[in-house]
């Protein structure tokens, strides 16, 4: 009889939670909207800082001015038409000066930097990033937006696949290990956890060495075979083959630490007093795990995973360069090599948006799963 009484008590608790939960849902929506606006402001401030750093107070403009002058003098000196030959040195110099002026006005270099920077900012936010100075998209366009949007899907593909794999593998693997902690497998994972101190691109080098150079079973890099297969199925298979190594590099570089962390969180939360209490009440292990361990551990797990995800964004740039993956990271690297300011600013903007989207998503999930985090003004009354 006492058993049922206790069970009823425990049944009562979730119901209360549910009620406060439905009230909280409204707060979550409001909170999310506020967060969205704030994140947008954040992104704007962030992008403006990027514009400032990218232009370093106008120095890049001077470099651009220099290259305009060089280009026009070269054009004129190579122009072998009779009219051009007839011109004297003085006249030619005048012509160069005029043409440079026109070009400077065309590119808007004659305005003061502050004005240009806000112009840049407005353009950057709306992704209207003008034209690249050197780079072109695969379709031949010089529009920065097209160049970058074209590179977005490969990046999202690689990033999404590897992060989803990472999260679910480590969640279930961690849960599995926490159940049988102390086992040989558990110890192996603990022993391997320090290997996660090396980033994905580093494992990428080894994977390329083993699977591409020595065994020659997987490609060195790229996204599809060249020339790309006509058949859709072949294309997908080729894509999959190229996706294996970079994804494996990301997963290998993080999986052991992530599993270890998750497992440790599970273990920590399963030593809490209320879990002992639940055990004393005689609840089944599965029930305890689901209600008293998994639920409270989720916020911690999500915070931890959010940081991992954000770190992985950083690593993607180098990983894409190492694997020749035609994503944003490699575009940025190419743009910097060519001093292509619009593309540089553009890719930082896209990265900023992507990071903001990630932060928002994780914040939203965090707010959903953690009733302790007081939403809005409540938590700050203290």
């Amino acid at each position: 009889m006492s058993d049922t009484a206790l069970a009823m008590e425990t049944e009562g608790a979730p119901q209360e939670k549910l009620q406060s939960g439905s009230g909280a849902l409204g707060r979550v929506v409001k909170y999310s909207a506020v967060r969205l606006v704030m994140l947008f402001v954040t992104v704007v401030v962030g992008i403006y800082m990027v514009v400032l750093v990218a232009n370093m107070g106008g120095y890049v403009d001077r470099i651009r001015l220099g290259s305009i002058q060089q280009m026009i003098s070269l054009q004129i000196s190579q122009d072998q038409s009779p009219e051009m030959r007839a011109l004297s040195v003085e006249e030619r110099r005048e012509l160069i000066r005029e043409r440079v002026e026109v070009e400077v006005q065309r590119q808007g270099l004659d305005q003061p930097f502050i004005v240009r920077s806000f112009g840049y900012l407005r353009g950057a936010i709306t992704l209207d990033l003008g034209f690249a100075t050197d780079m072109t998209s695969d379709t031949g366009s010089k529009q920065v937006r097209l160049i970058l949007l074209e590179r977005l899907p490969p990046t999202l593909l690689m990033w999404g696949v590897s992060n989803l794999l990472l999260f679910f593998i480590s969640l279930f693997f961690g849960l599995f290990l926490s159940r049988k902690y102390g086992s040989i497998l558990d110890r192996i994972v603990i022993a391997l956890a320090p290997t996660s101190s090396a980033p994905g691109w580093f494992y990428g080098l080894f994977l390329i060495l083993i699977f591409a150079a020595i065994l020659q079973v997987l490609p060195f890099g790229g996204m599809v075979a060249a020339p790309p297969p006509e058949n859709r199925i072949d294309y997908a298979l080729s894509l999959l083959r190229h996706l294996v190594l970079p994804t494996a590099a990301i997963v290998i570089s993080t999986i052991f630490l992530q599993t270890y962390n998750f497992r440790t969180f599970f273990l920590i939360y399963s030593t809490e007093d209320y879990v002992e209490m639940a055990k004393a009440k005689g609840l089944s292990d599965r029930e305890i795990e689901r209600r008293y361990v998994l639920r409270p551990v989720l916020p911690t797990i999500i915070t931890q995973f959010a940081l991992t995800v954000i770190t992985l964004w950083t690593g993607a740039t180098i990983l894409e360069t190492v694997f020749n993956w035609p994503g944003l990271g490699r575009a940025l690297y190419q743009a910097i090599g060519l001093y292509d300011t619009p593309v540089i600013v553009g890719s930082q903007v896209i990265y900023a948006y992507l990071l903001a989207a990630t932060v928002f998503l994780l914040d939203f999930i965090y707010a959903l799963v953690d009733p302790r985090v007081r939403i809005g003004g409540e938590g700050r009354t203290r």
């Binding site: 591409a212 920590i268 910097i336 900023a352 903001a356």
Partner: protein
Amino acid sequence: MKTLRELLQYPAAAIGLVIITLLILLSVYAMVTIPYSEAIRLWRGGEDVWYHTPKNAAPAWTNWFTTKDLPATIRMRSDDDDVIKTVESASEELTDVIFSFTFDFPYDDFPREISVFFNTRYDRKPPHVSMTWLTPDGREIRVADKSMTQQETYRVSQDSLLQRRLGGALPHQGLFAVDPRAEVLEPLHGTYTLQVEAITFEPESDVDAEMVIYGQVHGIAGTDHRRRDLSIALLWGTPIALGFGLLAAVGTSLIQMIIAAVGTWYGGWVDTLIQRVTEINMVLPFLPILIMIGTFYSKSIFAMLGVVVLLSIFGGGIKTNRAMFLQVKHSPYIEAAQAYGASDARLIRKYLIPRIIPTLLPSLVALVPSFVFLEAALALLGLGDPVLPTWGKVINDAYGNGALYHGHYYWILEPSVLLMIMALAFSLLGFALDRVFNPRLRGM
């Protein structure tokens, strides 16, 4: 002391500490034996410094794993003690200068190339030099007859006349072959001699030479595509990597912790401000900005260090710290301390921060590798320090020159293994510290 003893109970910590100590000793050794300016000269000196080492030679210890004994580099000068140089005057003007380079060749494969670097002194008429190659089985091969101007390099391997005389075999192979005209060339073991006879036409005129037979293996670390000895970069990369990693990790962790503690404790607008700045910082793409600064401003490692710390002050660590502080903040012992009237500063210093120091120290140690790898990553993208030799720059060179395609695996493996060792050492120590300072984890 107690902590240290406790720490050493973990084999992982002991291994980590031993490796870190060894790396520190290696750094000291590198900085003492090869002073900074010398390291820079050896690494960036140009062809004058590297001319006597082979290109892309594997390290000498690879011979232990191969059945064939690959040749090392043989380098002899005419003013060495074991090279006898005779000067005989044949007439008033003519002088014979004779010296021979005699060396043992016990290897199972051919050298990469052969060059003789001449240094002649004369006023108007350059001396005439003729060279003869003596093989262990008594054959005599005429190598070349020519006038040598002041600083002339005679590249034996590129002498097409000699190649024709050897029946089409590449000179550096044909000269060492049992039979240069055979289908498959076999190297002949034994003592070889390169005899140099020079006739000078002026009384003050003289001839000196240096013979270099470039091997296929070199030194403990091998060489790169520019003939540079990799051991310089590997040795000097150690203090650079250690310094960069430690400074960046300590700088960011401490500042982040203090900011997070203050923000969490005071709450209100302070916390909001810190949170907002952190969020702005979080959407700032860290590496791309670093790349941008590297491209536009400075690639110097110190500038990079500064920017890394600056960008990391409001980094993700603040969120983790804050999450921990938030839990601690509502703990009963803090409420108790507040009840007896402890000041805010005291609460932060004595109650909040000590509570998370245990989690800070392990994460600080574990953070070191990420910064070491960051430096390597920047170098891999071509943004390494322009002057200093670093591990990352070696990987970058290797990667850029297709080391993986061409099978020069040592070139990429050596710096990578060093990076891995350093990273593992710090992260093993970090994990053990985690156990020591987090008693909750001890049983786990």
